[in-house]
C-alpha cells in the first residue's frame, strides 16, 4: 500500500482546467504542429491569390478562362451522371438479383479502380487508333473502311468515357455497401406493393441511397478535377493543364496560383452542392436490424443479360485494357526491363513508403488526440487532415512550392553556414518537398481508416489501461496501437497505392531527373512509346490489385 501512496504524488494535476484531458500535452502539441504544416501551404496559396495580376493572367482571363471553365464543368457533369447511372445501376443489380457469375462480378467490379485513369487513357487510344487492334481488324480482316473520326477518343468525349469507365466503382462500392446494410425491408415492401424492378430502382433505391451515391460521385469528381494525365494526353484544356502550362512553359507561379484559386472555387462549390443535395439525410437509417436483401433469381435469358451487362463494364474498365497491356508488354519487356527500370521501381517504392509511414504517424497521433479530447480543438484537427484530399494535386503543388521556397529563403543563412557554396533552394529542389506534398494530399485516406479503427475499438480498453497504471502514451503503445493494427495496415495499403499511382503532384514537384513508375509511364505514353509504357503500367496495376486483395482479406477477418 505504501508504494501507492508515494506514487500518487507524481500524478497530481492542478485543477486549473476543466477537463482531465488537459494532460495530453505532448499529443496535443504534436497534433497542432502537424495541423499547422498542413494549413500553412494553403495559407501561402491564399495569400498569393491577391498579388497584382500580370499579362499572362489577363491573356488567360480574356481568351482562355471561359474554355477552361466550360471544359471542366462539362467533364465533371457528364462523368458524374454516367458514373452514377452505371455505379448505382450495377449496385442494384448485384444487390437485388442472383445470376450466373454474380459472386465473381460482385467483387471484381472494384478492379477498374486499380487502373489509373491516365494509363486507361493511353491504352484505349492505343487500342482505337489507326495502328491499333480495332482498326487493323476492321481494315485487314473484315475489310471494312471506317472513318478514323469515329474511333478517335482524343477529345472531351473520350476523356469522359475514360473517367466513367474507370471511376464508376467509387459509386458502385458505396452504393452496394449501403444497399446491403440498410434497405432490405424497404425494398421488400415495395415488392409486396406490386412495384416492378425499374420502378423500385427509380422510386426507392435511388432516393434512399441518395447520400451514398452523392458521396461516391463526389469522390469521382475530385478524381476528375485532380486529373492531369488524361486531359493533357487527350489535349483537352482544363484547369490542371492550364496550371501546368503556366508553371512549366511560362514559369509564372502567380498565374498558376490564380488559376488554382478559380479551380478551388469549383471544388468548394462541389462540396457545398453535395451538402445541399444530401440535405439532412445521412448515410445511415434508424432501423437497427441489418439483414441482407433476399435476392431474386434471374434465370435463362434474363440471367444472361444481367451477366452480360455487368461483365461488359468489367471488361471495359479492366479486362480489355489489361489484356492489351499484357500483349504490349510481351513486345517490349526486353527493352524496358533493365537497371534503369529497377531504379524507377526503387524510387516509386521509397517515396511511397516514406510518405505512407509519415502519414500513418501523423494520422495516428491526430486521431488519438482528437478522440480523447472530444472538444472543438480535436474536431478541428480532425477536419484539417481531410483538407488535402479535396484539393487537386496541381493546386497543392503550387501551395507547397510557395511554402518551401519561402522556407528555403529563410534558412539560407543556415545552409550557407553549413556549406558556403550551398544553393538557396535546398529543400525545394529535393525529394523532401515531394514527400511533404504526398503527405498533405493523402493524409485523409490514411486518417479515415485509422479513425474508423479507433471508433471500432472504443475507449473502454483505454480506460482500463489507465486505471491499471498506464499513462496516455504508454497505453497507446501497449493497448491502442496493437488493437487498431488492422486499421493501420489498411491505411498503409491505401495510401501506399495512391502514392504509387499519383501523377500530377509528382510531375510538378519531383526533383530534376527523378522518375517514378507513374511519371515514366506517362513519359513513354506522351513520347508515342505506348508499348514501352505497358510494363511500368502493369506494375502499378499489380500493386493496386495486391492492396485490394489485402484489404479484402482484412475485411473478411474483421467480419465487415
Amino acid at each position: 500500500m505504501v508504494s501507492y501512496i508515494v506514487k500518487i504524488k507524481g500524478g497530481v494535476n492542478l485543477r486549473s482546467g476543466s477537463s482531465i484531458k488537459r494532460s495530453f500535452n505532448l499529443w496535443g502539441m504534436l497534433s497542432a504542429f502537424f495541423a499547422a504544416l498542413i494549413i500553412l501551404p494553403n495559407v501561402d496559396l491564399f495569400g498569393n491569390l491577391f498579388v497584382q495580376p500580370n499579362e499572362n493572367w489577363y491573356h488567360i482571363k480574356t481568351y482562355l478562362l471561359k474554355d477552361y471553365i466550360t471544359n471542366t464543368l462539362v467533364i465533371i457533369g457528364f462523368t458524374g451522371v454516367f458514373t452514377v447511372l452505371v455505379g448505382s445501376g450495377l449496385a442494384w443489380l448485384i444487390s437485388a438479383y442472383d445470376f450466373p457469375g454474380r459472386k465473381i462480378i460482385n467483387w471484381a467490379l472494384i478492379l477498374p479502380l486499380t487502373i489509373p485513369t491516365y494509363i486507361g487513357a493511353y491504352t484505349y487510344n492505343g487500342i482505337l487508333n489507326y495502328t491499333g487492334v480495332v482498326q487493323r481488324l476492321l481494315r485487314n480482316v473484315l475489310e471494312v473502311q471506317v472513318s478514323p473520326k469515329w474511333l478517335d477518343i482524343m477529345n472531351i468525349q473520350g476523356a469522359i468515357f475514360i473517367f466513367a469507365v474507370f471511376l464508376f466503382p467509387y459509386v458502385y462500392t458505396v452504393t452496394r455497401a449501403f444497399l446491403s446494410n440498410q434497405s432490405a425491408s424497404l425494398i421488400e415492401n415495395a415488392r409486396l406493393l406490386g412495384k416492378n424492378s425499374l420502378e423500385i430502382f427509380c422510386q426507392v433505391v435511388l432516393p434512399i441511397s441518395r447520400g451514398a451515391i452523392l458521396g461516391g460521385m463526389t469522390l469521382v469528381i475530385f478524381e476528375v478535377l485532380n486529373d492531369y494525365g488524361v486531359v493533357s494526353y487527350f489535349g483537352v484544356q482544363t484547369f490542371s493543364t492550364a496550371i501546368f502550362k503556366a508553371w512549366f512553359s511560362m514559369g509564372d507561379i502567380d498565374t498558376a496560383v490564380k488559376l488554382s484559386g478559380v479551380l478551388m472555387t469549383i471544388v468548394i462549390s462541389v462540396l457545398l452542392l453535395e451538402r445541399g443535395l444530401r440535405g439532412r439525410k445521412k448515410y445511415s437509417y434508424t432501423t437497427s436490424k441489418v439483414r441482407p436483401i433476399v435476392r431474386t433469381r434471374l434465370r435463362g435469358l434474363k440471367g444472361f443479360w444481367a451477366f452480360f451487362v455487368s461483365f461488359m463494364f468489367l471488361s471495359l474498365g479492366f479486362i480489355i485494357p489489361v489484356l492489351q497491356l499484357l500483349v504490349w508488354s510481351t513486345l517490349t519487356y526486353k527493352k524496358v526491363l533493365n537497371i534503369a527500370f529497377l531504379k524507377l521501381l526503387g524510387n516509386s517504392v521509397v517515396v511511397a513508403l516514406v510518405a505512407a509511414l509519415i502519414i500513418l504517424g501523423v494520422a495516428v497521433i491526430i486521431a488519438n488526440f482528437s478522440r480523447l479530447q472530444e472538444n472543438w480543438v480535436g474536431k478541428l484537427f480532425s477536419k484539417v487532415t481531410l483538407l488535402g484530399y479535396s484539393i487537386p494535386g496541381a493546386v497543392i503543388s503550387m501551395g507547397v512550392i510557395l511554402f518551401f521556397v519561402d522556407f528555403d529563403r529563410k534558412l539560407e543563412w543556415f545552409y550557407k553556414a553549413l556549406n558556403p557554396n550551398s544553393i538557396t533552394l535546398v529543400l525545394s529542389s529535393s525529394v523532401v518537398m515531394l514527400i511533404f506534398a504526398y503527405s498533405v494530399r493523402f493524409l485523409a485516406v490514411g486518417y479515415q481508416s485509422i479513425e474508423a479503427g479507433f471508433e471500432k475499438v472504443g475507449k473502454k480498453f483505454f480506460e482500463a489501461s489507465r486505471i491499471l497504471g498506464n499513462g496516455v502514451t504508454k497505453t497507446f503503445f501497449r493497448v491502442d496501437l496493437p488493437m487498431i493494427k488492422p486499421a493501420v495496415i489498411s491505411a498503409f495499403a491505401l495510401t501506399f497505392v495512391d502514392i504509387v499511382k499519383e501523377l500530377p503532384l509528382t510531375l510538378i514537384l519531383r526533383p530534376y531527373n527523378f522518375n517514378t513508375l507513374a511519371t515514366k509511364t506517362y513519359e513513354y505514353a506522351t513520347d508515342e512509346m505506348i508499348h514501352e509504357a505497358a510494363i511500368p503500367a502493369l506494375l502499378i496495376i499489380l500493386v493496386s490489385i495486391a492492396s485490394v486483395y489485402l484489404l479484402n482479406k482484412l475485411g473478411e477477418k474483421e467480419g465487415i
Binding site: Y4, I5, K7, R15, A464, I467, G471, M483
Partner: protein, 224 residues
Amino acid sequence: MFAEIRGLSFRYKNSSVDNVKDFNLEMNQGEVTCILGESGSGKSTVLRLLAGLEFPLNGQMQINGKILFNEDKFVLPEKRGIGMVFQDYALFPHMTVEENIRFGLTNLSKQEKTERIREMLELVHLEDYAKRYPYELSGGQQQRVAIARAVAPKPSILLLDEPFSNLDAHLRQSIREELNGILKDTGMTSIFVTHDREDAKSIADQVVILDKGETIGKGKAIII
C-alpha cells in the same frame, strides 16, 4: 476512516442538471459498499468519478489520508491506485489471461510478477487458463479474469460496475457467492454498483441508494 468522499457532484457536458448531486460516502477498511439504483441514476458515473475517468464539478475524496481530488488537486487515473472491473470487463483481446493480469503489475521483479499472477489465478480458480485468450473463455470466466486483473496490483479500493449484469440468471447466485468469497479472501475495500436489490443484500456491508443523481437512502445492508 479508511476512505471518505464529501460533496461530490458532477455534470455531463451537454446536461442542464447535475448528474450526481452532493454524494457522500465513508468506508472502513475491508468493507463492501453497494451503490443501488436504476439505470440513469448516476451510479456508474460515481464509479467513473472515483476512478478518475471523469472530472468532478465539486467535492473531495481521500483514501488513507491521501487526497485524490479536491478543489485544487486532481490525481490522474493511472496514479490513483484504484482497481476497477468494467461492466463488459474490457479484457485486452490481444493478450492472454496471464498477460492481462500482468498488465497492471509494475515495480515488481519478473519473479514477483509470476508469483503474483499465480496467486491471482488461484484466487479466481483459473489456474489452467493462463494461456487462453479472452474470447476462448465463458462470460463468467472472463469476469473472474477481470477481477484478477484489477486486484493484482493491490489497489486500495476495488470498484465493480454491474458485476452481475452480463451473466445468466441461473449463474447469478453462485457468482455472487464466489465474488463474496473473493472479496472476503482479499480483504479488499470495494464498491459495486447494481440495480438489483438481491445483489445488494447478499454481498454488501452498507448500501447507498441513488435516484437521478441524488442519494435517497443509505445504511446497513440488513435494513434494506
